[in-house]
Symmetry: C2
Subunit: 208 residues, 2 copies
């Protein structure tokens, strides 16, 4: 499509580089900005630049942060001997939202995926092993996605961690039927896992 202006063509090019946004949507968004006060575009532009230039990764857990060490790792009220290993920053936010977890995290930055060409060295696995080496961890929780890549990562990590000299307790988040889900509509693998990993009844009602 021909654009009536080079400036418009440029902004559409840039916005449509974002995932899931095509050129038609990019055009709609650009023209929307024209109808809004100029400072909205200024704020948007500044926040993008500032975010990309100034954001840091926590040097302990690799979560994104405004400082060298993130708020969670810097919080003395959290249990620093309990580490939850997650794929992504969004997983940290999801678990934090439950309000149930008082330990700290380790963000891998992805999962092992032979198809997408992501190997163990692309993730922060060596940093995790170094955290374990220091010897003051009690438990590591693997909280990966319930996908093939998630399982591959789980298995790889388990082999690495269990081969170390000072092995902390290793656990993985429970997989089973979701709250609100009906048995009839649950897939077989999930249902099978929820039977295999059944918990004592008294334990299950304690957390309701």
């Amino acid at each position: 499509m021909e654009y009536p202006s080079k400036l418009l063509s440029e902004i559409v090019d840039e916005i449509s580089k974002l995932p899931g946004i095509g050129r038609r949507t990019a055009l709609r968004l650009s023209l929307h900005l024209l109808k809004q006060p100029e400072n909205q575009s200024e704020n948007l532009s500044n926040s993008i630049l500032k975010f990309r230039k100034e954001i840091k990764h926590c040097k302990v857990c690799h979560n994104i942060s405004d400082r060298e060490v993130c708020e969670i790792c810097a919080n003395p009220n959290r249990n620093h001997a309990l580490v939850c290993v997650v794929e992504d920053i969004r997983d940290v936010m999801a678990i934090e939202n439950t309000g149930e977890y008082k330990g700290v995290y380790h963000v891998l930055g992805g999962k092992i995926s032979p198809i997408e060409g992501v190997g163990p060295s692309d993730l922060t696995i060596d940093k995790l092993l170094k955290r374990i080496e220091k010897g003051n961890l009690q438990e590591i929780i693997f909280a990966m996605s319930a996908t093939i890549d998630g399982d591959t990562t789980n298995f790889y990590l388990y082999r690495q961690v269990s081969a170390m000299s000072n092995v902390p307790r290793i656990s993985t988040i429970a997989r089973g039927i979701s709250v609100g889900e009906e048995l009839e509509y649950t897939d077989e693998i999930t249902l099978a896992r929820s039977i295999l990993h059944r918990v004592p009844f008294e334990k299950s009602i304690k957390n309701i």
Copy 2:
């Protein structure tokens, strides 16, 4: 949702102000930028700021443009006595893409919509009437959407233009069944219009 960083919270706030983009999508887009080279974010940021600050509206037709007068209005090969009135900049682009139109445009900047509180004074109707007053136009084509608001705008414009002393020819784009559409599935109003506005057969095959 709690964000682990103020910078992240700011960029999500700004991106989610765009129409059709929620906070979850804004978060996904922000984190995507982190994984891309820094200059992609710089280019995006710059193009937004530049577009909003430097874009002009053509002083003749009100299309957006990099200059005072847009490329179409400045083109001596176009027929400047033939003006197509459209609602929006995107309509100009759509008609230009057909490659069939050699006249010029007038962009109203919207349509009369009592529900959305858009009245005639919010549009560039007075500028259109001034263009007609100059007396060198031969024909005006109304190319509004086939909606109630489009029809309202059509009717209002027709009354204003036909009341002037030097009335050019006034026409409106044809409404009928779309190319490729089957009669059976066409709604009654469209089908009725396509019968009422039937064209001589010889004329219809000329443009195939």
